[in-house]
């Protein structure tokens, strides 16, 4: 009697959670929640320093934990590719750990920029709820209120970014996508200056982002319909043994692809990028341009290498097309830009195209070179945006390129650093931009992508023009009489720029250690 009762009762197994392996994400999410409590209960005078300590501390701690996991002997014992934790929801393998480590480092540097708050340099609105131009806004500014909510919001976004590339099933991935996106929608509307532009950016980002999420979700439904599972491994298994019609599968690949390529900002899903990059507070732009890109590429790599790994020949032609229009489109439209943040946005689009050539290779070399590229580019792009925050006129950041004329004469160091980043983005040798571009192109060429490489270098030649034009403006033109001022960077911004310069230089001269790390991480591809 009792036996049959037990059999009838719904059995809910206790989920088995590998807390140790998930600790970096748990730490970041936990710190984010504590941050919300700090925001609610800590006195205003203490909030910023508490938040800062909490945020930077948790990111550093998560990074250390990532390293501990990556070097743990049990996880990868006996040549194991990794472990699937949390009841099949989260994969812990070497590529993921590399990507998470990269995200944590980039996030740490981005938070340094967010923390910049010498009074007139802070990038965030005093009170987001105050209508632009209203008395409330003025009062808030005068009272010296600052939005400390940005710290927990940032942590939530970073937590989502860590989970996104680690998700082993599509539903977890979708949740991660939303967790990383929602705080970013908010953050991008918080700019202190030009608030209408910022709010417009947030609105656009939100609407288009929601749209792409819908695509992603629809794609999940299709794939579930095809394979009866949302697990990446199960989808791969269903696809490889498939003999029946695969309309659902292809529709699913296409829709998931759209969702992910939107986050990357690949053409033709790039239209949000320049507007959002321009309107957002620059530190948030830096966060998006580095961490979000890395995270989205991580997810793209996992989905296409694990779930669709057997179908390379099916998705490759479409990806080729996307990569080609992304490389060319980003480069060509960049020529016409007159705003430095929009220029960097289009540059980021073109760079995404170059990374896609590595993704398309679908080999370990493709994976490792893409990861190397992401790390190298992420650090450089934060540095470049950090410089943008320093060039200011009475209306905030002097984004229009015409006001950058002659900057090299007035502050050679700042202009020289920015020129250095541009040279790196252009892929001139002895900078990280060259070694990373070389890595992805080599991987692409080795797996039959030589035409892509040719398009890639043509795109590089095209996009060199806008970069060179900025250098010409800064160094070879006479300064405008009412040009912008260059504020003295505080320790935070200096550190972000310094790390960017150093990494760009070192990865240009001796890329070997990081390349080896990426190579080892990619050696066994993803855990299935």
């Amino acid at each position: 009697m009792t036996g049959s009762f037990a059999a009838l009762a719904p059995v809910i197994p206790t989920p088995h959670i590998e807390y140790g392996q998930l600790s970096p994400m748990l730490l970041v999410f936990g710190a984010a929640i504590v941050g919300v409590l700090v925001e609610a209960f800590a006195p205003r005078s203490l909030r910023r320093s508490l938040h800062l300590a909490l945020t930077l501390g948790s990111l550093a701690g998560a990074f250390v934990l990532t390293i501990v996991i990556a070097t743990s002997s049990t996880l990868f014992a006996g040549g194991s590719a990794g472990h699937i934790a949390a009841m099949g929801a989260v994969a812990v393998d070497r590529p993921t750990l590399f990507i998470q480590g990269t995200i944590l480092v980039l996030a740490f540097i981005s938070v340094l920029l967010i923390a910049e708050s010498s009074h007139d340099v802070s990038a965030f609105a005093a009170q987001a709820a105050a209508v632009p131009g209203s008395p409330e806004e003025r009062e808030g500014l005068l009272a010296g209120i600052s939005h400390t909510e940005v710290y927990p919001l940032t942590l939530f976004a970073i937590g989502g970014m860590l989970l996104f590339p680690a998700s082993n099933d599509l539903l977890t991935m979708f949740v991660a996508l939303e967790v990383l996106s929602l705080p970013l929608y908010l953050l991008s509307g918080l700019a202190r200056r030009r608030r209408l532009l910022s709010q417009e950016a947030a609105m656009k980002y939100f609407l288009l982002g929601a749209f792409s999420s819908a695509f992603f979700l629809f794609g999940i439904a299709m794939l579930y319909g095809f394979s009866g599972s949302v697990k990446l491994g199960a989808i791969a298994a269903a696809a490889s043994g498939n003999t029946a019609s695969s309309v659902l599968l292809y529709a699913g690949i296409a829709l998931i692809g759209v969702g992910l390529l939107f986050k990357i900002g690949a053409v033709p899903f790039q239209s949000w990028k320049p507007d959002v990059y321009q309107g957002s507070p620059t530190p948030v732009t830096a966060l998006m341009a580095s961490c979000t890109l890395v995270s989205a590429f991580g997810a793209l790599l996992r989905v296409f290498y694990v779930a669709f790994g057997q179908l390379t020949w099916d998705w490759r032609p479409a990806m080729w097309a996307v990569a080609i229009v992304t490389m060319l489109g980003g480069a060509i439209i960049a020529i016409t830009q007159t705003d430095v943040k929009r220029l960097l946005a289009y540059s980021s689009i073109a760079q995404a195209g170059y990374i896609l050539t590595g993704v398309i290779a679908a080999t370990t070399a493709g994976l490792s070179s893409s990861m190397f590229y992401l790390a190298a580019y992420g650090i450089a792009t934060i540095g470049a945006f950090a410089i943008v925050t320093l060039i200011r006129d009475p209306g905030g950041e002097a984004g229009h390129l015409s006001s950058w004329a002659g900057l090299g004469k007035r502050s050679p160091l700042v202009a020289g650093t920015f020129a250095f980043f541009l040279i790196a983005f252009a892929g001139i040798p002895l900078t990280s931009g060259f070694s990373s571009k070389f890595a992805v192109f080599q991987a692409a060429a080795a797996s039959g992508g030589l035409p892509l490489v040719i398009i890639g270098v043509i795109s590089s030649a095209i996009i060199a023009f806008p970069y060179v034009r900025v250098i010409v403006l800064m160094f070879f033109s006479e300064p405008a009489p009412d040009g912008p001022i260059v504020v003295r960077p505080s320790a935070y911004t200096s550190l972000a720029v310094g790390v960017g310069v150093l990494a760009t230089l070192v990865l240009g001269f001796i890329p070997e250690p990081l390349l080896r790390l990426a190579h080892d991480a990619a050696a066994q591809l993803f855990v299935r």
Binding site: Q442, A461, F465
Partner: protein
């Protein structure tokens, strides 16, 4: 002694010099004018000393070099980026060695000649010279010297590419920041042209690596293994094009030359010497070293086209040079014409042609260098580079005019001067295989006489113009700068043997690789026999 890394050290010394200059305190608000000038002078002196040390080291190399020895001497190979299969591999054969020595000779000369260029005195009258950092100009030059030595010394294709591209940046700033006239336009044009060529080459470099990998053996970028690669003819053709277009832009070969006159005109004379004298040689050097040896089948396939372009360039550029009103622009066009001859010699695929072409690279560096520098002295004095603004200089500044004449005559390859030997070798070497091309190329010499002598006549002879009446003759510094070049032009014209001895084995190696033997001229006796025996 032979294990000492001469080449690496020679290449590194200028870089150390650049760092030393960087330590000189820069411009500050507190410094007075005199203190600033003293510090600038210190920066210049450091640059000169380091360039002289580099020269001495390179001369030691030239003495230590054994023409009959292994292909690449002073060679070093270390792993650099194992994931890419990249090595730090350097070494020189005869061709690279003479070009390195040419570079190290030109460098102190250029430094001396451009002692005051950074202050912007060479600009046209009426244009206020913008204040530039003197220190930075000399740092750029020293960095450039390291890269120039590196690009000739590299024996790893990747390393070569790195220097090839990185070289653009210092030159870009030297033209854009310190140049005159339409410097921004010229600098951007120079950079974009070169970048485009370089990036096409990058594709070929990557493809070369991919093709060099076979089975489990990873690919390589090392030059010598790559020369033994068995590539199909089709692949060779494409890869040849990738490299060749980059070099043709660099050299520059007609019709890829349009950036050079702009860049050379906008650059200061010293920078123009480095640009035309050394940077452009990387193009012809690359053709000889990389295009021919890596892709012999491709080279043979494209030779007819290249010869036509080269001859067209010789004649076109010479005719355009005649019509120039600006001295620097005229000299730039003469160089385009001369580069046509060098390329002709390279692709004639005969030992005389290639020895002549290599020798021509060296001699052209000295002769055009002298011509540019002396033109620069004239321009500084008159604050104008227009030929029409001069006249009768001979009477007020005879030494200047005399040296200008000698370097000009070297430009038109007067017998007894160094360029004659090389030009003659190129023409003979071409004639033995491609008579028509050689005949047309010879017309270039006649045109050269027109543009050089006409320029000399218009600037130096005739009645003394009022503006030049007070023109001082060459100062000691200027004489020290161009004196050695003039001496070399004369010495190498009379006794070129040592240089040829160094070049010969390397050229022989190249020809073996492209499987080209010199055509044997029909023996008179056998010709007679054939004639009598129908």
């Amino acid at each position: 002694m032979s294990n000492f890394p001469w080449l690496t050290v020679t290449g590194a010394v200028p870089l150390v010099g650049a760092l030393a200059i960087a330590l000189v305190p820069g411009r500050s608000a507190a410094a007075d004018e005199a203190g600033q000038r003293a510090r600038d002078r210190l920066a210049k002196q450091i640059a000169l000393v380091f360039s002289l040390i580099t020269l001495a080291l390179s001369l030691v190399m030239a003495v230590e070099f054994k023409p009959g020895g292994p292909r690449f001497q002073f060679a070093q190979t270390y792993q650099w980026i194992p994931q890419f299969g990249v090595h730090y591999a350097v070494g020189v054969d005869g061709i690279a060695l003479v070009l390195i020595v040419m570079t190290t000779i030109l460098m102190p000369v250029v430094l001396l000649a451009s002692w005051n260029d950074a202050e912007g005195l060479a600009g046209p009258a009426g244009e206020t010279p913008p204040r530039r950092s003197v220190k930075t100009y000399f740092i750029l030059m020293m960095v450039l010297e390291t890269m120039m030595i590196g690009v000739f010394g590299a024996t790893d294709v990747f390393l070569f590419y790195v220097f090839f591209e990185a070289m653009l940046i210092p030159m870009y700033f030297m033209i854009g920041s310190y140049g005159v006239g339409k410097r921004q336009y010229a600098a951007v044009k120079f950079l974009l042209y070169s970048l485009l060529g370089g990036l096409l080459m990058l594709v070929a470099v990557i493809a070369l690596y991919v093709y060099s990998a076979s089975g489990n053996r990873p690919g390589t970028f090392l030059f010598l293994p790559l020369t033994h690669l068995a590539l199909s003819a089709t692949v060779q053709k494409w890869l040849f094009l990738g490299f060749f277009i980059a070099f043709a832009i660099k050299a520059p070969l007609w019709p890829f030359h349009t950036w050079l006159p702009d860049a050379a005109t906008a650059a200061q004379p010293g920078a123009a010497v480095l640009l035309v004298g050394v940077l452009d040689k990387v193009g012809t050097f690359g053709m000889l070293r990389y295009c021919l040896e890596l892709f012999p089948a491709g080279a043979h396939y494209f030779t007819p086209v290249i010869l036509v372009l080269a001859v067209a360039g010789i004649l076109y550029a010479a005719i355009v040079a005649i019509g120039q009103k600006d001295m620097k622009r005229l000299i730039a066009y003469t160089s385009v014409s001369h580069f046509g001859l060098i390329i002709l010699g390279v692709f004639a695929m005969t030992s005389q042609g290639q020895v002549g072409a290599t020798l021509y690279m060296v001699n052209h560096g000295f002769a055009t260098g002298a011509l540019f520098l002396i033109a620069g002295f004239l321009i500084v004095r008159r604050r104008s580079s227009q030929i029409a603004d001069f006249g009768g200089v001979q009477k007020v500044a005879p030494v200047l005019a005399g040296l200008f004449l000698i370097s000009g005559l070297a430009g038109l390859a007067l017998p007894g001067l160094s360029t004659f030997v090389s030009e003659f070798l190129v023409l003979i070497g071409t004639f033995t295989r491609y008579e028509v091309a050689a005949i047309f190329a010879t017309l270039g010499i006649i045109l050269a006489a027109i543009y050089i002598l006409w320029m000399y006549q218009r600037t130096m002879t005739g009645p003394v113009r009022d503006e030049v009446a007070a023109m001082p003759d060459l100062r000691a510094r200027e004489l020290w700068a161009v004196g050695p070049l003039i001496a070399l032009i004369i010495v190498l014209g009379v006794y070129p043997r040592p240089v040829i001895n160094i070049i010969n084995p390397a050229v022989h190696q190249t020809l073996v690789h492209v499987r080209s033997t010199d055509p044997v001229p029909p023996h008179p006796a056998s010709a007679l026999k054939n004639g009598s025996n129908p």
